[in-house]
Symmetry: C2
């Protein structure tokens, strides 16, 4: 079954500092035309950092678009042209104060693929040397530590609802179970 | 720790047919001002539909913003003011041809909360009466069936990378394990 949609034109509707917005004309597999709205995002990373007591570092922060505080694994946006592992090393030290070691690639996550280019690269790492937190001026977050069981309990209780955090927690447990 | 950010102004940059784009001025907890870009989305649903052979219906479709075909649980956008369970009943019949029965609420998922208002309500249901598929004119999808173990294998192999699909598959298995 042919599913590919071909781009006929791209029109930028907004160019922002984090995201751009386009509306494109496309040709569907049957030859008819349709419109596709696209949010362009540089991509991000998520990092599950475990310390020697088997606790993971969690950040609680105001998610403005959601109008509430969400508890999540540390995460960040990729700089232009930056390798995602570099982003992960930078973000985990900035947000938790600890360098990450022994990074394990948990693979890509597409948060909302229907209209958004964002892909989140997910990592699992061990906490190393303490180097101190360092936030962007507009970034406020509260750090906490949880075991994997506590995280999965909060997922099942619908307290943790962030997509990358849910995917990462379950992937890490599945990986540990399969060892 | 105070984390709340207060809206000072909202400016619409694009009003589209699926999403709108805003840039807002906000006041941070320390009183300084910052800019927040917001994608407004009406919200969606995802439905894991299981038949009597313990197979789940999966849809493969071209995700234009991602430039590739993704295999996912059936999903759809909420109409304005529509209850998410109604959306779920409509979408599952349209995409698989089967009515859903015995819906279990798997809770909300925030796919990318830093800049997007979207929340996906997730459901697990049993396949009921066959009523026939019914697609939108610009919707092309290929249907397949997989067991939960097969889905989780493809997640661990990084073949299934859609956020709601990963969250739903693991939540369903965890729910079954806890029974």
């Amino acid at each position: 079954m042919e599913l590919t949609e071909e781009t006929l034109s791209k029109t930028y509707r907004y160019k922002g500092y984090v995201v751009n917005m386009r509306s494109d004309e496309v040709r569907l597999p049957d030859g008819t035309q349709a419109l596709r709205e696209v949010v362009e995002h540089p991509g991000g990373v998520g990092i599950a950092l475990e310390n020697e007591n088997h606790e993971f570092y969690m950040v609680s922060q105001w998610r403005y678009a959601q109008g509430r505080v969400l508890r999540e694994f540390p995460a960040g946006k990729r700089e232009k042209g930056e390798d995602p592992l570099e982003t992960a090393r930078r973000e985990i030290a900035e947000e938790t104060g600890y360098e990450g070691e022994d990074f394990v690639d948990l693979g890509p996550l597409v948060p909302t693929g229907a209209y958004d280019t964002e892909v989140i690269e997910m990592y699992y790492a061990k906490a190393g040397r303490y180097v101190g937190q360092h936030f962007d001026f507009d970034e406020n977050l509260a750090l906490s530590r949880m075991t994997l069981d506590q995280i999965i309990d909060e997922i099942m209780e619908q307290k943790i609802i962030d997509a990358k955090t849910i995917a990462m927690a379950f992937k890490i447990r599945e990986m540990k179970n399969r060892k």
